[in-house]
């Protein structure tokens, strides 16, 4: 047994409490869900670059409605098929010359264009300014994609929420409906819908929306099934909240990350479908243009005038790449646990 140690009371000295008052304090500000995601997104350099590229394209495409270098629909047969010409630049491909029958000729002189006339990206077969047409086409492509995605979102989220929340035979039936729709190739559905609605901007938008909501609906349903077992939903039910209010106040906020991520993946696929259909010839009809129709026009004589195909192809590809990289970044930011 050890000796008992006796300590006098004055061998202890009380600490100054006031010094440690904030040891439990959380110094960093509380982050909301969005702020937290943004903090993670900022660290992802490629996603930020993609976002900036997208913003630039959006501003240019929608801004061009107000300040376009030329009227995208103004036909000028005399100045048809002119190659790109940048004032003061003398690099083949950007100086207004073309290779014709083996020799390089100045297309602008040949067409009798004035000295001050120059088209940054050349003109098409009707003498319309390519740059204006591409901006105009990008605007239509983006509009179609975004409106289609919004409709898709509305249908998909409503269907998924309802199916998951109701459960039972309703859910079972609604899932069978989705399975049937999913076993028809999307493109075939789109084509059938367009045939019925007549080709045009609104029908293509609706067709894309109606055929692509199933993925969203399935994701939302799966998550709703999980969420409705949560205690806070039970509490809300016990307190007598109506189903609609629970959906808006409790389920939707918790589904928001899935919705945002899925939306960002739907937009590029809608852009793809629109370009695809317009390229094939059943999408946007003349005189309107989209990236798909421009590419189709350019492809017709790309042996001789390849620049008419390059620029729409580049713009379409860059937009698609930027959207996909940005969507990947958003997924990592909103949902760090998902693999990807």
């Amino acid at each position: 047994m050890a000796d008992e140690v006796k300590l006098p009371a004055d061998s202890f000295e009380p600490l100054d409490k006031s010094k440690h008052l904030d040891s439990e304090k959380i110094a960093a500000p509380n982050l909301t869900f969005m702020q937290d995601a943004w903090r993670r997104l900022k660290k992802n350099k490629s996603a930020i670059i993609a976002m900036i590229i997208l913003i630039i394209f959006f501003v240019l495409a929608f801004g061009s409605a107000f300040f376009s270098p030329h009227n995208p629909n103004a036909v000028n047969p005399q100045l048809a098929n002119l190659p790109p010409k940048w004032p003061g630049v003398n690099i083949n491909g950007l100086n207004g010359t073309l290779v014709q029958a083996g020799s390089r000729v100045n297309a602008y002189q040949a067409a009798g264009a004035g000295a001050g006339v120059h088209y940054w990206l050349g003109t098409d077969y009707l003498g319309r300014d390519m740059l204006s047409r591409i901006l105009f086409g990008t605007r239509i492509s983006l509009t179609v994609a975004i409106v289609a995605t919004a409709v898709d979102l509305l249908i998909g989220v409503t269907f998924g929420l309802f199916s998951g929340w109701k459960g039972g035979w309703v859910d079972n039936f609604m899932q069978r409906v989705i399975e049937i729709i999913m076993s028809i190739p999307t493109l075939v559905v789109v084509v059938l819908l367009i045939l019925i609605l007549k080709p045009g901007m609104s029908s293509i938008t609706l067709a894309i929306a109606f055929s692509s909501w199933t993925t969203m609906a399935r994701l939302i349903r799966a998550q709703t099934l999980e969420l409705k077992e949560q205690e806070y939903v039970l509490a809300a039910k016990t307190l007598g909240e109506s189903s609609i209010k629970i959906a808006f106040k409790h389920l939707l906020p918790n589904l928001s990350s899935i919705i945002i991520i899925q939306t960002m993946f739907t937009i590029p696929s809608a852009i793809f479908f629109e370009a695809f259909l317009s390229f094939v010839g059943i999408g946007i009809s003349a005189p309107q243009a989209s990236l798909g129709t421009l590419l189709n026009d350019g492809q017709k004589n790309f042996q001789f005038l390849p620049y008419q195909m390059w620029y729409p192809a580049i713009v379409l590809s860059v937009i698609m790449i930027a959207f996909n990289i940005f969507a990947d970044g958003l997924r990592d930011a909103f949902d760090p646990q998902t693999k990807g």
């Binding site: 069978r176 028809i184 493109l187 075939v188 019925i196 590419l295 790309f302 790449i321 693999k339």
Partner: protein, 309 residues
């Protein structure tokens, strides 16, 4: 398994029936007849032509005749090519489409798996970065953009392969590459994700601890286990290829179903549109069914639990 199969086939037939019904009535809603130069024909001539196509009967009779015909492989007569049965039109064109599709699947999926696995093994090195960039490009760049680029550079400038048309093997090279890009990118990405997961698991740790060689671990344990989920994306990949084939066949003027489908759409050839819709749906459903069965066979966990969900 047998019970599951029966159930699946029942659903497949039900879906097929719904597809046939919906397309039939949708097509009935559309204006347009097989008559050409309608103004020049007398009413009795018009009636004769319509009768030849079976369009004078009431709609419900036409429907029953059509459904009965479809199950015997008879899709009616084409509006565009008079006197040509649609079934002949399709069967004579399915060869090139299938050939391209299968080639694209093979040269897309196998390299995709290898590249994806390599990316996962060399995670966070330049190899991984390169494969990630390649797969993002493959997913993002639409197949028809790639097709025209290939046509321009490889076909026109380098003259390695024919620009278009259909002949021997060399004619299939460019369209196959254009079609295979998206399945390649999808598989590479998916395999990489799965493989990264598998490489972090305990059984890989155990295999290493047992003293297996690095490549032994990768081949016997990591790759095999990451391939199981890869089977599930075969369905979506087949859809990608079908979608792509419509426009790729057009660009390269290949006499396949996709090219015919686009032509029929542009000329309002309804019997052919319906038939191609049904053929595409059947192909997709069969691919989905096969992948589900294969998945059940190769994944012991599903095999044992009997896939009852």
């Amino acid at each position: 398994m047998a019970k599951y199969l029966v159930k699946r086939i029942f659903y497949l037939l039900l879906t097929l029936f719904i597809v046939i019904t919906v397309t039939f009535f949708l097509m009935k809603l559309l204006p347009g007849t097989p008559l050409q130069n309608q103004q020049k024909l007398s009413p009795s001539q018009q009636h004769l032509i319509l009768k030849q196509y079976g369009l004078t009967k009431p709609v419900w009779q036409q429907y029953l005749i059509y459904v009965g015909g479809v199950f015997q492989g008879n899709f009616g007569t084409s509006f565009q090519f008079s006197d040509q049965p649609v079934s002949y039109l399709i069967s004579s064109r399915i060869g090139p489409s299938l050939l391209l599709g299968i080639q694209a699947m093979i040269i897309g999926v196998i390299p995709g798996i290898l590249v994806g696995a390599l990316g996962a093994i060399k995670k966070n090195t330049w190899v991984d970065t390169t494969t990630t960039i390649v797969s993002i490009l493959g997913i993002s760049i639409p197949s028809f953009v790639l097709a025209v680029l290939l046509q321009y550079f490889v076909g026109l400038k380098l003259q390695w392969f024919p620009i278009a048309d259909w002949g021997g093997f060399s004619y299939t090279v460019l369209p196959t590459i254009a079609l295979a890009a998206s399945p390649f990118a999808d598989t590479a990405r998916f395999t990489r994700t799965e493989m990264v997961d598998v490489l972090n698991s305990d059984y890989i740790e155990l295999a290493r601890a047992k003293g297996l060689s690095k490549w032994g671990v990768i081949y016997h344990h990591a790759l095999r286990n990451s391939l199981i989920p890869v089977v599930t994306i075969m369905g979506p990949l087949a859809v990608n290829i079908m979608t792509g084939s419509m426009v790729i066949e057009n660009i390269f003027s290949i006499p396949g179903i996709g090219e015919q489908f686009v032509k029929s759409i542009l000329t309002n050839d309804y019997p052919t549109i319906m038939a191609v819709t049904i053929v595409y749906s059947v192909m997709l459903m069969v691919v989905l069914l096969i992948t589900d069965i294969v998945y059940g066979i190769i994944d012991p966990r599903i095999r044992i639990s009997g896939k009852s969900n």
